[in-house]
Each structure stands twice: as structure tokens, then as C-alpha cells.
């Protein structure tokens, strides 16, 4: 399933690349500089850059698991192969120490590195192009004042011909629209601020928008739901299936604390996003919530929550229901032991209401980890305890019992894929 798509994509890109190559493939290098002294940057600008870097979640993709911050090496899995986040510390050899501000500006706006090579769109310059020059200057100031770390990122694991970067020129020709964000004068200021952040630096669409065979976001399905690292990134538009519609306030609380009691706990790839947002001014998180809420068509006041699911039907209890009583009810039943700590009720959990079962499966298998050992729900994974068939049964049971929606297809195979980590498709 994956293979044909990759090959198809590669061939198409190759054709495009040939065309693009002659047109815009060649970009000039920008002269290397000596790394500027930290003291040469305005501390206010550096602090601003720190907040922006948090909004951009930069550290996530530019830090290896257990690695030094911003020193690269994070494996970003894409349907085409694995791309490793680069070292963006000011180390002159392996990082961006020799990049001038102009080189940085160009990378953000056009996806071209200092030497003139095209960058893979795993670096979401289709969003970063919207970032203002001023903000880029602050980001540059922030990054250039980090601790330089000498570390080479591992080589990307991509099939030929994708290793041939000039092909990317063709991709850009088709899918990259450069240019700073333009506010909509008819909208209020915080909406525009939110739109600027969400569409630009936060690059929310990179995960929450479906991608085409060439790995580009499908513009007409913007925020229609996408994927990240084996997780489904739920729709952030009117296609949202959240049982309790999201509101600005619930989005805000989710982004600020990682928990919205009526929806979800930030887990999987969303956990680091929330962790980063904890360093961002409240007004920016409010602005993001405002814009996303508007995209979702949220009403002003929260809707009535769904009536709690009826008691499990009184027929002879199926195996999944028994497993639920022994494994899940402890925390998730209304009278479970942590009843006073308000965990997310399963009748309103977004993961169960989504058309895609992967998040529910991921959580059952791998649990919810406490990010950074901070206080957040900590759920054990059941990968060792339950067989694929049992997880599938349980997921189906939860889906029916708590959402009343038709059971997902092909669950057991999906569990198998999630277990082996092979779930990007």
C-alpha cells in the first residue's frame, strides 16, 4: 500500500523535477559568516524569538530523542522515508553558525539552505513563508544565542530519486506559494494574530490537513484531518467529529493545560506542542484558540454535553465489556477511584468519535505518558496485556458503547500496524 504510493510519487516528482530543474532549481549560495557573538543580539529580541520558537515547536523536530536541544537528529517519518531534523544550533560546521540573517530569512521564506540546496518540505516552509521578516529576525537572534553543539544529523533515509534535491524545485513550483501573511482587515485583531500563528509558524496544517500523493497539503481540504507519527490528527474544521463541539474556551484550555475534560488529553505528537505552548504568552494561545474555533465553526456558548452513555446493555456481557470493567472502568467509569479528579469521560473522548481508529488504538496500546514528568494523566499501555484481537474488540466496544457510531473497519489489522509502528498509512 505504501510502496506504490511512494514510487508513484517519486516518478511524478522526477518528471516535475526535470521541468523545474531547468527553471528554478539552481539557487545561489549565501556567503558564510563567522558566528556572531551572543552579546551582539538584543536580549529583548532573543526573548521574543524564544516565544516564537516555542510557538513553532522548533525544538521538537530539531532535537533527537534524549539529544541536546536544537542539535538535530529527530527522525521525522514521512510516507516517503525518514528525514532527520537538522542541527540549528550556531555551530559553524554542523549547525547554522555560518548562516547570515539573510540566509536564515531565505530558508524560512523559500526553503533553501545557505549553500543553495532545496530543503525537503518536512521543514514546513510552505507555512514558514508566512512569517514576517521581523519575527524571523527574532528567531534568528534566539537560535544564534543557543549553545553551539557539534553534531551531524544522520543522513536522511529516502529512496532514490528523492535524494536528488533539485527535484524539490518542481515540488515548490506546484505547491509553494511564498509570501508573508496578509491580515484580513474585516476580522478582529486576535483572529488575525491567531491566523498568522496557526497558518505560519505553528504550521498546524502540516499535521491536521490531508496530504496528496506528492506529500503536499491538499489546500481544498485545509484542516480536514491529517496524520502524524502513526496518529490521526483530527479535523480542525467543520468536519470535526468531537461529541462535544469545541469552543474557543475548550481549545484554549486544551492548548494551555493539555487537557480538555470534554475532549481529550494531549498525547502522541500533540503532547510536545502543548508543552512548548506553555512558554507562550497567554494572548497568543488565546489568539490561536480564537482562530481555530472560528475555523471549526464553533458556537459561542458550549453546547449541551451529550447525555452520558446509557449503562452497558443488560445482555450477557461480551468479553470486551468484561475487559472494560476490569481494565478501564477503574479510571474511566463515572464512579472510578479518580472520580474526583475528572478524567476525560469516554462518552466525549474525541479519539473514539473520530472516523479513524488509530488514536484510540494508540492510547490503548501505549497509554498516555506524562510528558516531562509533569502532572498530567498517566495511563498504562495495554500492548503486553492484550492480544491484537482483544484490543480490536475493546476498541469496537468502546466505539459502540460511548459514541453509538458504526464500528471501525479492519480493526485487528490496524492494531497490528500500530503495534509494529507501521501505521503511517
Amino acid at each position: 500500500m505504501r510502496i506504490p504510493r511512494i514510487v508513484g510519487g517519486a516518478v511524478a516528482l522526477a518528471v516535475l523535477g526535470a521541468a523545474g530543474f531547468t527553471a528554478i532549481a539552481w539557487r545561489s549560495g549565501i556567503e558564510p559568516i563567522d558566528p556572531p557573538a551572543s552579546a551582539s543580539f538584543d536580549p529583548v529580541q532573543v526573548a521574543e524569538g524564544a516565544r516564537l520558537a516555542a510557538i513553532g515547536n522548533c525544538m521538537q523536530c530539531h532535537t533527537a530523542p534524549d539529544g541536546k536541544p536544537f542539535a538535530g537528529g529527530y527522525p521525522l517519518k514521512t510516507p516517503f522515508g525518514t528525514i532527520f531534523g537538522t542541527n540549528i544550533t550556531p555551530d559553524p560546521e554542523t549547525g547554522i553558525g555560518s548562516w547570515s540573517e539573510a540566509a536564515f530569512q531565505r530558508a524560512m521564506a523559500e526553503g533553501v539552505d545557505r549553500a543553495g540546496s532545496h530543503l525537503y518540505p518536512g521543514f514546513p516552509y510552505d507555512h514558514f513563508t508566512k512569517v514576517t521578516e521581523r519575527d524571523n529576525r527574532a528567531l534568528y537572534a534566539f537560535l544564534m544565542t543557543r549553545e553551539p553543539v557539534a553534531a551531524d544529523a544522520p543522513p536522511n533515509q529516502l529512496p532514490w530519486p528523492l535524494t536528488f534535491r533539485p527535484l524539490l524545485a518542481g515540488w515548490k513550483l506546484l505547491f509553494l506559494e511564498t509570501g508573508e501573511f496578509r491580515p484580513d482587515p474585516s476580522k478582529p485583531e486576535d483572529w488575525n494574530r491567531g491566523a498568522y500563528l496557526v497558518e505560519g509558524l505553528s504550521h498546524c496544517g502540516a499535521c491536521h490537513t490531508p496530504r496528496n500523493a506528492l506529500g503536499a497539503e491538499e489546500k481544498d481540504k485545509s484542516f480536514g484531518g491529517g496524520e502524524s507519527d502513526g496518529w490521526h490528527a483530527p479535523a480542525l474544521n467543520q468536519a470535526s467529529t468531537a461529541p462535544v463541539p469545541w469552543t474557543k474556551d475548550s481549545l484554549y484550555s486544551y492548548l494551555r493545560t493539555g487537557v480538555s475534560a470534554d475532549h481529550a488529553v494531549a498525547s502522541g505528537p500533540m503532547a510536545p506542542v502543548v508543552r512548548n505552548l506553555s512558554r507562550v504568552p497567554d494572548t497568543d494561545v488565546q489568539a490561536i484558540a480564537t482562530y481555530v474555533a472560528d475555523r471549526m465553526g464553533a458556537r459561542e456558548a458550549p453546547a449541551d454535553p451529550p447525555t452520558p452513555a446509557a449503562e452497558a446493555p443488560r445482555q450477557p456481557e461480551g468479553r470486551a465489556a468484561t475487559i472494560y470493567r476490569g481494565a478501564c472502568a477503574t479510571c474511566h467509569d463515572a464512579n472510578g477511584p479518580l472520580q474526583f479528579a475528572s478524567p476525560v469521560g469516554l462518552d466525549r473522548a474525541t479519539s473514539l468519535a473520530q472516523p479513524d481508529p488509530r488514536n484510540a488504538i494508540q492510547v490503548i496500546l501505549h497509554g498516555v505518558e506524562t510528558p516531562d514528568a509533569k502532572a498530567a494523566p498517566l495511563m498504562p499501555g495495554f500492548a503486553n496485556a492484550l492480544t491484537n484481537a482483544q484490543v480490536a474488540d475493546l476498541a469496537a466496544y468502546l466505539r459502540t458503547r460511548f459514541t453509538g457510531q458504526p464500528v471501525w473497519d479492519d480493526l485487528e489489522a490496524e492494531v497490528g500496524r500500530a503495534r509494529t509502528g507501521d501505521s503511517s498509512e
Binding site: I323, G326, A327, P337, G367, M379, P380, N384, A385, Q390
Partner: protein, 165 residues
């Protein structure tokens, strides 16, 4: 009636099939090693092996475990004939109150059966689900390393023999 295979023997269990394994082990089979620590799957005190994999028994209902091979710390050896992991914990004096230790032994056993020569990082990752409040961690680390050495040596001396049980 549910049939459970625990430490190589089949047991007929007459209990609510939703009962988490922990309570069946303690109340029906009178086994002590798996401990109640949180009942929430957060601390690892209650761990046992199911087909060689570590499982938090406090949130694993017995109905899910029919047909699986369950081993508890009792199945790894007794006070007079401790298994290699248990012996390593004794040799390193790796316990203070000892309440958490059976859970650590299970995590270690599962790790060493899969990965006979684990790195320190692998050991730490494998032990992360387990909490110890007494701060015995350094000794636990040493015990796991010692057990790994012992199990490798015994496998080398007795090729084909199974480590552990």
C-alpha cells in the same frame, strides 16, 4: 470458571472474569510477590509476566489472560533456590523496604529474556514503569547488570538451556 496458567500450572478460577489478575493471584492462589501499589497501572508493583512480557496485573482482567503463560516472581525461584535475577538482587542487597522489588524483578526478567546484554539506557527504559520510593535505584541497576552477566554466563556454560525459568 476461567483457566489460568500460572507458574507452569493450570488453575481453575472461580471469580468475576473482570477481576484484575492481581487479586486472583493474591486471594485465590495465595501468592504474595505481586503487590498492590496503585491499582492504576502507574507504579509497577503488581507486575507479572504474560508470555514473557511485563504486564501490570492490577488493571489486567483475568478474562484477557486465558491461554497466556503467566509467571510471577514465585515462578522464578524460591528463597532456597533463587533464580538468577533474584540472586542478583540478594547479592547486591538491592532492597530497602523491598515492596517494589518484585515488580522490578519482573521488568528485569522480561528485559533480560529478550535482550541478554542490555545497555544502561535499555535497562533504564525497561525499568521506567516501576516506581521505588525508598531510592534503591542504584542498587537495582547494579542487580540487573549482575543478573545479565550471570544469565549470559550460565547460557554460555549450558547452551540451549533457558535463562530464568
Amino acid at each position: 470458571m476461567i483457566t489460568l496458567s500460572v507458574n507452569g500450572r493450570d488453575h481453575q478460577i472461580d471469580a468475576d472474569p473482570a477481576t484484575p489478575l492481581l487479586y486472583v493471584l493474591r486471594d485465590d492462589l495465595h501468592l504474595n510477590a505481586a503487590k498492590f501499589g496503585c491499582g492504576l497501572g502507574q507504579c509497577g508493583s503488581c507486575m507479572v509476566l504474560a508470555d514473557g512480557l511485563p504486564v501490570v496485573s492490577c488493571v489486567t482482567p483475568v478474562v484477557a489472560l486465558e491461554g497466556r503463560r503467566i509467571r510471577t516472581v514465585e515462578g522464578l525461584g524460591g528463597a532456597d533456590d533463587p533464580g538468577p535475577v533474584q540472586r542478583a538482587f540478594i547479592d547486591e542487597q538491592a532492597a530497602q523496604c523491598g515492596y517494589c522489588i518484585p515488580g522490578f524483578i519482573i521488568s528485569a526478567q522480561a528485559l533480560l529474556e529478550r535482550t541478554p546484554s542490555p545497555s544502561d539506557a535499555e535497562i533504564r527504559t525497561a525499568l521506567k514503569p516501576n516506581l521505588c520510593r525508598c531510592g534503591t535505584h542504584i542498587r537495582i541497576l547494579r542487580a540487573v547488570r549482575r543478573a545479565a552477566d550471570a544469565m549470559r554466563t550460565s547460557v554460555a556454560a549450558n547452551p540451549g538451556g533457558e535463562g530464568g525459568q
